[in-house]
């Protein structure tokens, strides 16, 4: 049985190339819009995930924002350090639930190493209420043991039992390509010059973490004492080249440097609020100007306020692309109307009303919109995955973009409505087709 849908299907098939290209423009526009919105939401939740249950961050960074980006998202190795004993003394007067010292600045094959205490794994929860879980091995318990984040282990193929030297600073230098460099291999000179390998002791992987979906997945974690020892050993060796061994007992207070402290305050019984938080925050800011005191949640909000303007520009651009795709549908259908005048006239002769002809063209335009919207949805899933991988690899931002929800439905609906609107002018042309002129013999 022939139906209106059969006629529309044939019409689309007859102009297959034009149909595909037009639907593709809609798909690209829908994809762009969906990806922008989903990445925006995903990046916000990724940032929120990374700070976990930390309420306050202490560091010597230049600003609270930099402090959060460095200490939680591993943006750069912090430039300045503070003494851990002094910080401990400072925090002792507050009802602290945990105060976890961290030291950054070393790396292994470009991946940051965070030196900390075992409390990092027992008290700090990077993602909501989820505790750290091991995919293999155990958490570090002794010096020169290291635990690899899920992404690092995956990318570098690290496994429990592997051992290596770590590097001072962030560079691609490691004990493998060091050998390559020595043998004349192609390696960036500047990076090589900047890098300094800690050759005092190799580190051994004792555990590999399960993914947390946070920035911490692309870091390695080691014992804080080890970090102090390797740095102290190098200082001691500068003064006395005969020194061969350094232990925790050799560490002076000036060696016990950290780049930040993750702090959480005790909560009132039956409440998730920490009454001491804002008192401590104000107190520390007022009386310790040498420290940078950051509220991670506030800094992430500030960051998103800054980027939201750029965000809106991108969304506006995507809207313009979508509008352009509507114009593409209009042009494609408009150009096809000349060829279709005869078909329209024949259908009218056979009994098809003008209103039905109008509906056929509008439905055809809407179908292009539907194909484009669905194509855009599929495309956006793929682009989201690729973008998430790139952002994870380049920025360490573990995104989990999702396309569910009202905005997605609204964008798909908008694409179909826009396409239908684009069909109005061609549909009016079809409606007004002069049958007598259109049925004249050709030539």
């Amino acid at each position: 049985m022939m139906t209106d849908f059969t006629i529309i299907k044939r019409s689309l098939r007859l102009r297959l190339f034009s149909t595909l290209i037009t639907a593709l423009t809609v798909a690209v526009a829908v994809c762009l819009m969906l990806v922008l919105l989903s990445l925006r939401d995903a990046s916000r939740s990724a940032f929120n995930r990374g700070s976990g249950n930390i309420q306050l961050l202490l560091s010597a960074d230049s600003s609270p924002m930099v402090s959060v980006l460095n200490a939680i998202f591993y943006a750069n190795p912090p430039a300045r350090a503070v003494k851990w004993p002094a910080c401990q003394e400072l925090l002792a007067k507050y009802p602290v639930d945990f105060a976890i010292p961290i030291q950054q600045g070393d790396s292994y094959r470009s991946f940051p190493i965070l030196a900390t205490t075992t409390q990092f794994f027992s008290a700090f929860q990077p993602n909501g209420d989820e505790k750290w879980k091991l995919a293999d091995g155990e958490f570090f318990k002794a010096e020169f043991q290291i635990v690899a984040g899920a992404s690092v282990a995956k990318v570098l193929g690290l496994k429990t039992g592997d051992s290596f030297f770590i590097t001072h600073g962030i560079s691609g230098i490691n004990d493998t390509n060091e050998e390559e460099r020595a043998s004349g291999g192609d390696f960036p000179t500047m990076k090589a010059a900047l890098a300094q390998m800690h050759r005092y002791s190799k580190y051994k992987i004792v555990g590999v973490l399960q993914p947390t979906g946070t920035s911490h997945d692309r870091a390695l974690f080691t014992d804080l004492n080890s970090a102090w020892i390797v740095h102290a050993h190098e200082k001691r060796k500068l003064k006395d080249p005969t020194v061969t061994q350094t232990t925790a007992a050799d560490l002076a207070a000036s060696d016990q440097l950290i780049t930040g402290v993750y702090v959480r305050f005790k909560t009132a019984p039956g409440s998730s609020e920490s009454p001491a938080l804002y008192t401590a925050y104000d107190d520390l800011k007022r009386h310790h100007p040498e420290l940078t005191v950051a509220l991670p949640g506030n800094e992430i909000d500030k960051l998103f306020t800054i980027v939201s303007n750029i965000d809106e520009v991108f969304v506006a651009m995507a809207a313009v692309v979508m509008l352009s795709s509507g114009i593409a549908i209009l042009l494609a259908l408009y150009n096809s109307m000349e060829q279709r005048r005869r078909q329209v006239a024949v259908l009218r002769v056979l009994g098809c009303s003008q209103v039905r002809i109008f509906g056929l063209v509008i439905t055809e335009a809407a179908l292009i919109g539907v194909f484009g919207a669905l194509g855009g949805l599929v495309l956006s899933v793929m682009v989201n995955q690729i973008a998430a991988r790139i952002l994870d690899a380049k920025l360490g931002l573990a995104l989990q973009p999702a396309l569910l929800g009202t905005p997605t439905v609204l964008i798909l609906f908008a694409a179909v409505v826009l396409a239908s609107f684009a069909g109005i002018i061609p549909a009016v042309l079809a409606y007004r087709t002069t049958i007598t002129r259109s049925l004249r013999p050709l030539g």
């Binding site: 059969t6 006629i7 024949v346 002769v349 009994g351 007598t436």
Partner: protein, 242 residues
Amino acid sequence: MDRSNPLTLNGLRFRYETAESKASGWTVDVANLSLGASEQLLLTGSSGGGKSTLLYLIAGLLDPVEGRVLVGGTDLHSMRGGARDLYRGRNIGMIFQTFNLLHGFSAVENVMAALMFSSLPGREHRGYAVDLLAKLGLSNPDADPDTLSVGQQQRVAVARAVACEPILVLADEPTASLDPELAVTAMDLIQDTCRQRGAALLCTSHDPAMAQRFDRRIALSELGARGASTPNSAPSRSEVAR
């Protein structure tokens, strides 16, 4: 609907709304014309004389300035919009000089396109269309019309015109683009099919060779206000009996 009275024209006048048309008088000026059930009439006239325009007026595709067109006793122009289109689809079949088959649709789909507007249940459309094409000598209903010969295309066009069992078939110069031999075959097909299905046929042509095929022949120029032609009235000056 009155099947015994397929077509009646009364005082039908039409001209296109152009300065040239207005200056040269009526494009179509028919005082009276009637066609009886299954009757076949040849309307002759020079090219550009208004024959096609008259057919479009009868089909309700153009609105007359004056007069009435009754198809099956129903005043077509008193109907508006979709009602008129549906009435045309179900009661009038049209055959064109260049067939005007739907591009991109198979032969049987061209026939089924006409059935979309019929009262026949949808599930019966294909079988009915295939049978009809077979009766008209087309054995490959799923063929693309572009791959068919001119004669076969003509069969599809005729099948499409009679698919809805119309009371009136309008054929506009159906043989003008055919060679003489094929023209004979085509006219045999059209006339025989209309007879078999009980449809009246109004055929236009400027080909003198067509005259002998029709019992009734009228020159369009003789149908004006001075002349009148009905099956039961005396023939007008130019109306020649067989």
